[in-house]
Symmetry: C2
Subunit: 334 residues, 2 copies
DNA sequence: TGTCATTTTGAAATCGATTTCACCGGTTAG
DNA sequence: CTAACCGGTGAAATCGATTTCAAAATGACA
């Protein structure tokens, strides 16, 4: 029963023709007489033949595979990005190799190397940190689209959201409601998305004539999830206490919500809260959390679209930076 | 700068030896003199050579790639399963091709076919529905581990959680607290995981001497997310109203929470709620939701481990069903 | 020093496809 | 009537590795 997989040779033999002809009906890029074509198709159906994509990939140096390197697939934002990307890729006949780098530059490097070795047609990449010679040379060899964040000094496309504008809107909501002591919690680890959110926070404050007070910015220069609660607590311990908090991502938002509650404070009466990066459940907590929503699915889609268009261009279209709009969703927490 | 990628031929030439020798130092499965080895290694370093995994894959019929087909990557359970799987795979030198089937049997079929065509070494698979001749024949050709759910009549390994036991504990909690009219919401679409949860619900009722009343079971025989709110509402409209609800998954849990609130009812005083499949935010809603937690990360890990062990066995170890325990987390909603 | 066993080595076959090239027969054009 | 062209075909080269096989180099031993 479990017979060896049929090869193109077997088809040629069964159809009484040559492998060249079989290949021609397979790829359809050269004329074949109706008689031969029929014979070949019959043989294919009969033997249940499927061409080896590996052999084809070797010969054509095309694998119809896209590599994806992201930090955390359990982050709802990224999993939605991946969903969008997978859907678009699938529709165009590509598949995705998923790599999770866990914010670890070394892991990231190994994975990029591996994707290169597997000769993926392109790479979608949410960089953990700083540029390296290796990344630069890789970007020169393989079409690479950065997603969510980007390395400013890397000559390469990127698809991101309007982080600065989203944060600006969020904090503006707070200033408009009269808040003047607005805290910020987040990482400051040299990643564009987060830096831009901080920039938006500062601009909104300045627009309202409020100086940007470093004492109200609780940021950490290193990624260390276990310190998140303490970071919020320091902020709540400031006197006078901030009357509102803006968190740079939803994880900090959840931590903040918990910390504020544990401090016996009420949201939004004692401390208002606005979070960057919306979650479905933010509509269901009480109070419901106001948040900046990102078009994650569309980010994934557009990233793949841009990558596939680069595969066609091949050549020298200049790198493009696509910025998708965010949306501020006002609920009860502010 | 962007020179062609070096091949094994180039290395052989640069090192003044033959491709055979280069291959031997690469794979290390035949002795090579120290002099030649040094020369080859120097050439490799100098030219920045990396062996083509495609060519190697063709010759050795081994791709070090695992295909994963799941229903929804944005479901936190699955994304955690994938995280565990990716981590384990990465540690063993494998990578993952991720396919999302969206509960669509046709999509699933295409993806399985594609994975086969790409000659993945094995497949991890959360089946959408019923067995087919194609799946059966595929499972005979490629090592295939089912995850989360399984096709009972398919001769193949599976890694799942104790759905029946988890649901039993959840509902037992409710009966112990005196509830006698306990509603159930969920799909009943012939998928083992969900069927088993329903079975656990029934067993817990019977254990408490409560008959299993179909009027209190709001199930749908087809997957249709848009009907979820209505399904909960029918249950809440029953008179006398159920005093507790068990939902078969967390999506239904969120919908139920919303519906109960909108009906102006209080959780847990008017209606208690226990949900299968915990979410991090269930600890933060108010009331916090009691839920059955699944060891998702471990499911992913174990699945890959089992798959890799099958790649070694190759032969005829009988199919194995690994059942991991769940944990009931009691919070405020029941 | 000659023989035999043991390492090393390279030429060539192989994996399964695509593609070039030469060729054949039949129109069509000049 | 010959030249040019074109649709259709198969033999052979190619993609970039591994592996077999036989030859060459080395070492051991009598």
């Amino acid at each position: 029963m479990a017979k060896k997989k049929a090869t193109i040779q077997d088809i040629a033999r069964a159809a009484g023709t040559s492998v060249s002809t079989v290949s021609r009906v397979l790829t359809g890029n050269a004329p074949v007489s109706d008689a031969k074509r029929a014979a070949v198709e019959r043989a294919i159906a009969q033997l249940g033949y499927r061409p080896s994509l590996i052999a084809r990939g070797l010969k054509m140096s095309k694998t119809f595979t896209i590599g994806v390197v992201i930090n955390d697939i359990t982050n709802p934002f990224y999993s939605m990005v991946v969903k969008g990307a997978e859907s678009e890729a699938k529709a165009c006949g590509y598949s995705l190799i998923l790599c999770v780098s866990n914010e670890n530059p070394e892991t990231e490097l190994h994975q990029l190397q591996m994707l290169h070795d597997k000769q993926v047609d392109g790479i979608i990449f949410g960089p953990t940190g700083h540029n390296t010679e290796f990344i630069r040379s890789l970007a020169a060899r393989i079409p690479m689209i950065q997603v969510d964040r980007y390395l400013p000094d890397l000559q390469s496309d990127a698809v991101v959201v309007d982080n600065e504008g989203g944060a600006y809107q969020a904090v503006k909501l707070l200033t408009q409601r009269g808040h003047r002591r607005i805290g910020l919690v987040g990482w400051q680890i040299g990643i564009t998305s987060e830096d831009q959110r901080i920039a938006g926070y500062c601009r909104a404050l300045e627009d309202a004539g409020i100086p940007c007070d470093p004492h109200l910015m609780s940021t950490s220069p290193a990624f260390a999830p276990e310190t998140m609660p303490a970071m919020v607590e320091t902020l709540l311990a400031r006197r006078p206490r901030p009357t509102a908090i803006f968190t740079i991502n939803n994880q900090f938002g959840i931590v903040a919500m918990q910390a504020i509650r544990q401090a016996g404070l009420n949201i939004p009466d004692d401390v208002a809260l606005v979070v960057f990066d919306d979650l479905a459940v933010f509509a269901l907590t009480s109070p419901a959390i106001s948040a900046v929503a990102q078009p994650a699915y569309e980010v994934g889609q557009r990233t793949v679209q841009l990558l596939l268009s680069r595969l066609k261009d091949d050549g020298e279209a200049p790198p493009q930076l696509i910025v998708l709009p965010t949306e501020l969703i006002v609920r009860e927490s502010a």
